[in-house]
Symmetry: D2
Subunit: 109 residues, 4 copies
């Protein structure tokens, strides 16, 4: 089983055990995701851009970044599930589409 599906299933169980599905309308889950993206941003905001990756390989930033990235991913998986979207399939399709729309040779946009 794919890990995105394994995480999705663990989240369904987590939510069911606590009776939290009622809170999980798309707009609420989206705001929770925004909250976690904010926590991730706060870890990096004042770091020099050219040193940020290097600094994240040491503690305590490594663990904090790991936790916040996870939080963002978990809410994203939850949101896809609430919306009935197959996230792995969608992401692979998007990459394939991007590869043809952005042929090698230009800067990112």
């Amino acid at each position: 089983m794919s890990d995105l599906e394994a995480l999705r299933d663990r989240l369904r169980e987590f939510s069911a055990e606590r009776g939290w599905s009622g809170f999980h309308d798309p707009k609420s889950v989206l705001l929770a995701l925004v909250g976690e993206v904010g926590e991730l941003a706060e870890l990096f905001q004042w770091l020099p851009a050219s040193k940020a990756a290097e600094l994240a390989r040491s503690e305590p930033l490594r663990t904090r970044a790991s936790e916040e990235l996870s939080d963002v991913l978990l809410y994203l998986i939850l949101l896809a599930d609430v919306l009935g979207i197959d996230l792995p399939a969608a992401a692979h399709a998007k990459l394939t589409d991007s590869a043809s729309r952005y042929p090698p040779g230009a800067a990112p946009s």
Copy 2:
């Protein structure tokens, strides 16, 4: 291979083919992720909360939401890779940790 790892490898190839790694410092990738979260938010902002999930099962919202969720996921996978973080392992660990910190019985926070 896990799909998070498969997507990570496809992104590495995508970036290498275009020589884009130089743009991929953590703060820049984080801003790109914020941009995509913004596009996702715009799809749902004026929808009634109680109808949003249902509306997302029809077109054109279904496809648009699918694309934007994918964009957020892809930048998240890229960011984890740039930071040298094992995203599937981190997410599973976070869920295990949350399960013990939030025992059944309380509302989400």
Copy 3:
């Protein structure tokens, strides 16, 4: 009259003329604000950090940044109004509080 209050009053008129208040619950306005922050992020994501301010003094970035900053401000003013919060007073109070909590001598956090 303060410009934050003048803009707030113009927004009230704008919304009333169109019958849009029904859409303006805090969570919806917050998502709209997130959408605009995303558009702002997209303007800067791939620019080199050390050149970004300079690049923003020329067109077309100057006008685009101006528009997106405005959009973020307008939704922020709308949100404060929907919540019944006096935004200028709150901001001045926050600055005064920050000045005492962060005496000169340390890096930002």
Copy 4:
């Protein structure tokens, strides 16, 4: 003097007293703004949409929302200043433009 300009001037003084201008490149300030938007989102994410405004008129949410709205505003004013953009003028111009682009009669988009 307008309150947006008064707050801008207080921020300039705050930053100069602490020698923080070196941290204030646009991308860093933008990430700080994202962090505060995240804190604002966290206050509202699980509240029922139809009750959120009412709940924000009581403590402790009233004070917390006030603080987070202020933080977002302050970073927005800082970002405009770093980019050399006249924020009040830009916001008024944007409203005027929106009033002509969205004549009364349609839902928001």
